[in-house]
């Protein structure tokens, strides 16, 4: 029995501990937002957060998530309460086919959590593990940068207010 937190809720899984986390989330917990793209950790469609770090779950045995916090796209935001990145995604008309976008968003969210004012180079570096076959990269980047820049100005305003 492997127990972990899934989007804040305690859950447990009783199957093969080597099953990749992606399939446990999709087939056992029925959260379908995270996608299967390559099964080899090469495309990032399956990206989730493990204790806040972006991780490719198609090659991560579920046992590696034991006692940790797993966050999926369903835990990032929802159509009623959007994460700022999701708002930016819609404002920039980012998605085309949309299949990779959950993974893109999870990778971007982890980046901005660790580095709210990420630079263009930071974004390139952090996002280059996520393939978009439709080629939405310019818009993905613009959307992330818009949030990074607004958080910078927010931080600057906060610093100013404190001083």
């Amino acid at each position: 029995m492997i127990s972990f937190f899934l989007n804040g809720e305690p859950v447990s899984f009783d199957g093969d501990p080597n099953t990749p986390l992606l399939w446990v989330i999709r087939d056992d917990f029925k959260l379908k937002g995270s996608k299967f793209g390559c099964g080899a950790g090469l495309c990032g469609a399956c990206t989730m957060h493990l204790d806040g770090t972006a991780i490719k779950t198609c090659v991560l045995p579920v046992v590696a998530a034991a006692d940790k916090a797993v966050t999926t796209i369903e835990g990032l935001g929802n159509p009623e309460v959007l994460h700022p990145l999701q708002t930016a995604w819609i404002e920039h008309n980012v998605p085309q086919c949309g299949y990779c976008q959950s993974g893109q968003l999870m990778a971007a969210a982890a980046l901005l959590t660790g580095k709210p004012g990420a630079s263009s180079e930071d974004v390139d570096k952090a996002m280059s593990g996520n393939i978009c076959r439709c080629g939405c990269y310019p818009r993905i980047k613009a959307a992330i940068m818009s949030v990074a820049e607004s958080s910078l100005s927010y931080d600057a305003a906060a610093v100013e207010a404190r001083s």
Binding site: G15, D16, T19, P20, W23, D27, K30, K32, G33, S34, K35, F36, G37, C38, G39, A40, L42, C43, A45, T72, I73, E74, G77, N78, P79, L82, Q86, W89, I90, E91, N93, V94, P95, Q96, C97, G98, Y99, C100, Q101, S102, L105, V123, D124, K125, M127, S128, G129, N130, I131, C132, R133, C134, G135, C136, Y137, P138, R139, I140, K141
Partner: protein, 733 residues
């Protein structure tokens, strides 16, 4: 209620009774409510035709006849119908249409999406549906309110009378009792509120929140999972196999031989995936089994050297013109096999019960998917429902049916709903491919740069014949197998011997006005399955043609843009596109060690020119920026036009820099993204798009951005290095 075999009038009454709303039918071209109603009517409200449903609480639902694979068609067609219905597409619920002949693609005659034609072919029919429905609602409002229709108007889903607003939903019951107006006049473009505006995609929210459903997300009670072990060489049959270790693996429920290989069915996907690795199979040898990529290339060259190609088209007397030319350029260009690699691997979920079959998948060819299930299951067509989901990429790959055949064969042998999923390895190794092409272009121009003679020859596998072989069982579900095989054989014979598949040579001459040309083709088919790949024949012909245009310009010491303009007489739209791109190119400030390359190409009715800004460092080609100029007629949603060009640049650049499917002993070498790389963000160029303002009928946009990119980059690489690269992918010596 059984809704089969209802007449239209019966249908109207029956639905009105159960729904509390009303349904009326309208005869649109190819839209006749024959047999089963296309829309699942439950508390339906007002269903005036196959495309629209308006509920009493004023929800406007649009059933989109084209498949959404990223190209933005749900937004585009919602905009078109919404314009005339006067409902903001953002306020509509847009759903995938079910499978029904009312949704047939007007040009294909079956329900399907491809050829960048959806906006072009549905532009007028859907505006008419919207306009007629709006007129009907106004008539109903007039009756109910006692106000003449000319004193009423509409604003975004509301009928407005003086200072009162009434939701459309208020009038649906009355509307159902009236005759549908026909041939209602359409708006003048100057009055458009939605068409031509940059509006958000209707699917952006779902796709930004992980709530958009793809085929892979189907999840039925009691569903089991299947994978198929396929032969390394396409078309091989299993001579014998040993499944003893498979059957004892955890979760395995069945091992099912299918026409394409051996299926392993388990309680969970991961169990099926793991168990399948324990299967040992002896596969038969095929002629393809000895083929390598090197041999493919040699055979394609040899076919052109043998000079027994079949003419596709000609104008004038190119041989005479060549004889009169003072200098002739003749050059070979080669492009490899390519895989589509959509992000969502192929999958299909099928449930067969005594009441019929339900398929959840993502296909570009709903009509043929339904047909192939009809053929394989023997169920009446009306009992087979295709629940087409969002497609996680298509690019032509999802117009093939092999995964539908597989899931049907599996589901018929086990008594449970089954989800079939291909792995990425399956996708890259067992697919249908953009065929390799050898192209020999011979050209002569006078000193002003006017081309006097042009000969373009291509060798390789046919595209259409192979695609149709795959699709025919579904397109003609009632044709007996014997006749079907005969037809397939005849098609091969025809294309091998005396007809040229237009898709295989498209783009070899059409962009320019050539006073004399000859286009011909030699079929060389090694047996690797081929099909349409985003922009089809144009994906390789543009590389040859636009490289040759640059070579001609150099030979004549002319500016490459000026040379192209010299050869666009009588093609005002492309002339304007090239001229505009030329102006932009002249005005560009180019950074030190950066070089510009130019290319233009017409495809799917749309004219595109691209300027690639490239640098080469230690043999590494880096594309910094691509500027696109496009004339696609009226841009229904300019932001989606831009997005399609941005995406096409990335798709084509992936092919130009990396794309290569190789064969060793007939088997595809590439297996996943480590050896079939896709462009990533850190390599992605900036893309600028200039859309030529136009009010002419819209033309294609999903594909036309692909063809010019590779030659634009190759032409820039030549300027950077002096190396003229005539093979794709581009590799410096």
């Amino acid at each position: 209620m059984s809704d089969q075999a209802l007449t239209r009038r019966h249908f109207l009454k029956a639905s009105g009774l159960i729904g509390g709303g009303v349904v009326v039918a309208v005869a649109l071209p190819g839209c006749a409510f024959n047999g089963r109603h296309p829309i699942e009517v439950a508390n339906a409200g007002f269903v005036p035709n196959a495309f629209l449903q308006i509920t009493p609480d004023n929800e406007v639902i649009f059933y989109c006849p084209s498949d959404e694979m990223g190209q933005g068609i749900r937004t585009g067609l919602a905009t078109i119908i919404g314009e005339e219905l006067d409902v903001n597409p953002a306020n509509m619920l847009v759903k995938a249409a079910g499978s029904h002949e009312d949704y047939n693609n007007p040009e294909f005659g079956v329900q399907g999406t491809g050829g960048s034609n959806a906006v072009r072919v549905f532009y007028e029919p859907l505006r008419q549906v919207g306009a007629d429905t709006r007129a009907l609602l106004l008539n109903a409002a007039s009756l109910e309110l006692g106000i003449p229709p000319e004193q009423l108007h509409t604003v975004d889903g509301f009928v407005v009378a003086a200072d009162q607003r009434y939701p459309y939903g208020d009038f649906v019951e009355t509307a159902a009792s009236l005759d549908m107006p026909v041939a209602t006049p359409l708006k003048a473009p100057a009055d458009f509120r939605y068409i031509g505006s940059e509006a958000p995609r209707v699917d952006a929210l779902a796709k930004a929140t992980g709530t958009a459903n793809f085929g892979i997300d189907a999840d039925l009670p009691g569903m089991v999972y299947a994978v198929v072990v396929r032969p390394p060489v396409a078309g091989s049959k299993a001579l014998k196999f040993d499944d003893s270790a498979v059957k004892t693996a955890p979760g395995v429920l069945a091992v099912v031989p299918v026409s394409s290989g051996i299926a392993v069915v388990a309680e969970r996907y991961w169990q099926a995936n793991q168990a399948a690795k324990k299967l040992t199979v002896d596969w038969e040898k095929r002629p393809l089994s000895s083929v390598t990529s090197t041999q493919v290339r040699q055979d394609l060259s040899a076919a052109l050297e043998a000079n027994d190609d079949t003419e596709s088209s000609h104008v004038g007397d190119p041989e005479k013109a060549f004889a009169e030319a003072d200098r002739i350029l003749e050059t070979d260009y080669y492009t490899p096999f390519l895989a589509h690699a959509p992000m969502e691997p192929l999958n299909a979920t099928l449930r067969i019960t005594e009441n019929g079959a339900d398929l959840w998948t993502g296909v570009q060819f709903v009509g043929a998917a339904q047909g192939v299930l009809e053929r394989l299951t023997g169920l009446p067509r009306g009992d087979i429902k295709i629940h087409n989901q969002f497609l996680g990429g298509g690019f032509g790959r999802r117009a093939t049916l092999s995964h539908i055949v597989e899931v049907a064969e599996i589901a018929m042998s086990i008594d449970k709903p089954v989800q079939l999923l291909w792995s990425r390895e399956d996708d890259l190794r067992h697919g249908f491919y953009r065929p390799a092409a050898m192209m020999k272009i011979k050209a002569a121009a006078n000193n002003e740069g006017r081309i006097t003679a042009w000969q373009a020859r291509r060798s390789g596998a046919n595209i259409t014949a192979q695609t149709m072989k795959n699709a025919l069982p579904g397109v003609l579900p009632s044709l007996p197998t014997g006749l079907l095989n005969g037809l397939v054989g005849a098609m091969d014979y025809v294309f091998d011997n005396w007809a040229v598949d237009a898709s295989s040579v498209e783009g070899l001459h059409e962009t320019y006005s050539l006073p004399s040309y000859r286009v011909s083709h030699a079929t060389v088919d090694h047996g690797l399955p081929t099909t349409f790949w985003r922009s089809v024949g144009h994906s390789y012909t543009s590389f040859a043609v636009e490289s040759m245009m640059d070579e001609l310009a150099e030979a004549k010491q002319l500016d490459p843009v000026a040379l192209r303009l010299k050869n666009l007489e009588g093609k005002p739209r492309m002339q304007n596109v090239v001229a505009e791109a030329g102006r932009l190119m002249t005005a560009m400030t180019v950074r030190k060690n950066h070089h510009l390359g130019f290319a233009a190409h017409s495809s799917f009715g749309t004219d595109v020119a691209q300027i690639a800004e490239v640098s080469v460092t230690e043999g590494h080609i880096r594309v910094h920026k691509v500027t696109c100029v496009v004339d696609c007629g009226l841009a229904v949603n300019p932001d989606i036009v831009k997005a399609q060009l941005e995406g096409a640049v990335m798709f084509a650049l992936t092919a130009a820099l990396y794309g290569q499917i190789d064969l060793e002993e007939g088997a595809v070498v590439q297996s996943n993204f480590h050896n079939y790389p896709i462009l990533r963000m850190d390599e992605a160029p900036a893309v600028d798009v200039v859309i030529i303002e136009s009010e002419t009928h819209p033309t294609g946009i999903g594909e036309p951005g692909v063809p010019p990119l590779a030659p634009a980059v190759a032409n820039a690489v030549y300027r950077a290095t002096g190396q003229r690269l005539r093979d794709l992918p581009l590799k410096l010596a």
